[in-house]
Symmetry: C2
Subunit: 362 residues, 2 copies
């Protein structure tokens, strides 16, 4: 307990102070402005990015860190100018809570590529006036949030809250490149590199869109799960013969691998005009031979989450198609242990989701 | 002189036998089939690729090599089913003389990406029946050619033959990615890496399309020529400060550099959804950091010449806009010396074009 606490207005959060032992943290969210939506958080997914910020891997964490950018909840109050939400509505917040909304990226609905930088849901710094200016943002490992309407997603009534929380980061991270790179209407040959949390979402969403999915993984034990989720083919990345037989067989490969790895074996699998799309923030550079690119007009691109408009499309699509990740719901008291587990091996085909609504540390 | 020679039907060529000393070579082109166009070659450009095949860098040259894939001439005879040409028409042949014409790439007008491989104009092997089956193809360093109509380009009446020959390889190599990657209608910020033969074409064509062109070069002495050709900006690749100031400033960068080189400094210059497109067949791999790609959905792609339909567009566009490379017309007797010069330093902002029609070695 820190200071006095008013349960009507104040927030309780899981807070990190530089290690993976999460502690209770009491603080007050900013007042609900005219364009703000206040909501009680019910569930929040654990994303691997949370770990990077908890342990300050990227060097700009400001403690206390309140992680969480896969946040779902129920609206409790709205500002005077809010039109999309009313109390009682299911809602969600993803990786961003502000951006300039004036640059061409923002105007094009791609706030994640904001020319002056979007404000992350946690460990961002309020810059554009829709979050307290100069203050570090705090995420969804907390029982309350107050967010500008533009950055709040509407969840359909039938949305599965616990299962659906990871759609706000893992889901849109796969949905956006599938749509952007031409697989949104199905009929493409889509490869998914890595069958972990992101890979799983990629398989399910790509299949639901009507694509033929090939999983490329280093783990032979992922074959059964991949096929159960709808993948048609499974190629073991270490099987050079199988990789070779797949030459020019894929229109789009989504690479979810987040550790340093070699991509030279996978490039020849791209068909003419094929794209290998990287989501992983891999800090060591890739080694890229030119010839498989030149002789097929193929390419390597990056992709970062997705804009608000497309995130809304993503949750609507997944709710309609009943596409949700495999999740394990955990209480707040288990978060520290699961973070430590993830920090050792990030190879789960399921996603942890914290039951914020019922188990918040006091 | 080799054997007997009938000047009405036989060809005289510049031939390589494994070194850069070109010798006369007498041979007979195949008979004019129903779909073939026979033409007298008037000019042929010297492409750096010619050197690779003359010296067997790629390992599949079959001697004698008759190079040349920037070929222009005048039709002398046409087969019974030819509809596009009549004797006296100006015509041209580029890098390909056959392909399957049945795969999706060929049907889409992208014969250069033929699923089973297009037949190169020289050092290819007749495969699909439109060139003598199993025989090595012979290029445009020769006074006569016979080519299937599909692979012959129509040249407008006002086409400048000597200046225009390099459009058939260098021109289309730049024109195709400019159109394919969205700069064909102008209004884009286009970077050109390398201001040599390809770079020069890229500057001129991109400017003629209505784009704002920035040249990125390691040679300060290329600035004046680049700007004279229409480039608006010139950045010295070694000037880290200038490169840094160009962050996110380019929608499309065409990389014409054909030797091993570092691209990590240029990637941050790509705007959101920007593309760095490689034309060079660089055999040592690139080192590619992921972050500039991920945080801008930027990408690195390859591009190989262009299909027949777009090559026709290219020559029509250049003739209409009066866009031609800087060339030096040389006699056949000078080819060996110029090849040796190019093999030492391929840094010319002009292109050599051989006056085949008037100076063929006997």
């Amino acid at each position: 307990m820190q200071g006095t606490f008013d349960p009507e207005t104040d927030s309780i959060a899981c807070m990190a102070q530089g290690d993976m032992n999460m502690q209770p943290h009491h603080f007050t969210r900013h007042a609900v402005g005219d364009e703000d939506v206040a909501f009680d958080v019910t569930y929040c997914g654990i994303c691997h990015t949370d770990l990077h910020f908890i342990t300050n891997d990227l060097g700009f964490s400001q403690y206390p860190v309140v992680p969480g950018h896969e946040v779902v909840g129920v609206v409790t109050a709205v500002g005077a100018k809010v039109t999309k939400f009313k109390p009682g509505d299911k809602c969600a917040v993803g990786c961003m809570v502000d951006s300039c909304l004036e640059c061409s990226a923002c105007k094009g609905g791609e706030e994640q590529y904001c020319a002056t930088g979007s404000t992350f849901t946690y460990c961002g710094v309020g810059t554009y006036g829709r979050c307290p200016t100069g203050e570090p943002t705090k995420g969804g490992y907390a029982n309350k949030m107050v967010t500008n309407e533009h950055f709040v997603l509407k969840l359909p009534g039938n949305f599965k809250m616990a299962e659906g929380a990871p759609l706000l980061c893992a889901g849109i991270t796969m949905y956006d490149p599938l749509v952007h790179f031409g697989a949104g209407k199905g009929g493409k040959r889509v490869g998914i590199m890595g069958a972990g949390g992101l890979g799983m979402m990629g398989i399910k969403i790509a299949v639901a869109m009507g694509n033929e999915v090939t999983v490329i993984s280093t783990s032979p034990n992922k074959e059964a799960a991949s096929k159960a989720m709808g993948a048609k083919h499974f190629i073991l990345a270490s099987d050079a013969d199988a990789m070779g037989k797949g030459a020019k067989s894929l229109d789009l490969i989504l690479n979810t691998v987040s550790a340093a790895h070699d991509i030279s074996g996978v490039l020849p699998m791209l068909a003419v005009d094929g794209r290998l799309v990287m989501m992983g923030v891999v800090t060591s550079p890739y080694t890229v031979p030119a010839l498989p690119l030149v002789f097929n007009r193929a390419g390597i691109c990056g992709s970062l989450i997705g804009g608000i408009k497309r995130t809304q499309e993503c949750v609507d699509f997944c709710a309609k198609k009943d596409v949700y990740p495999e999740v394990e719901v955990i209480p707040c008291s288990a978060v520290s242990d699961k973070l430590k587990l993830l920090s050792v091996k990030n190879d789960q085909i399921k996603r942890y989701v914290i039951d914020i609504g019922n188990t918040m540390l006091k």
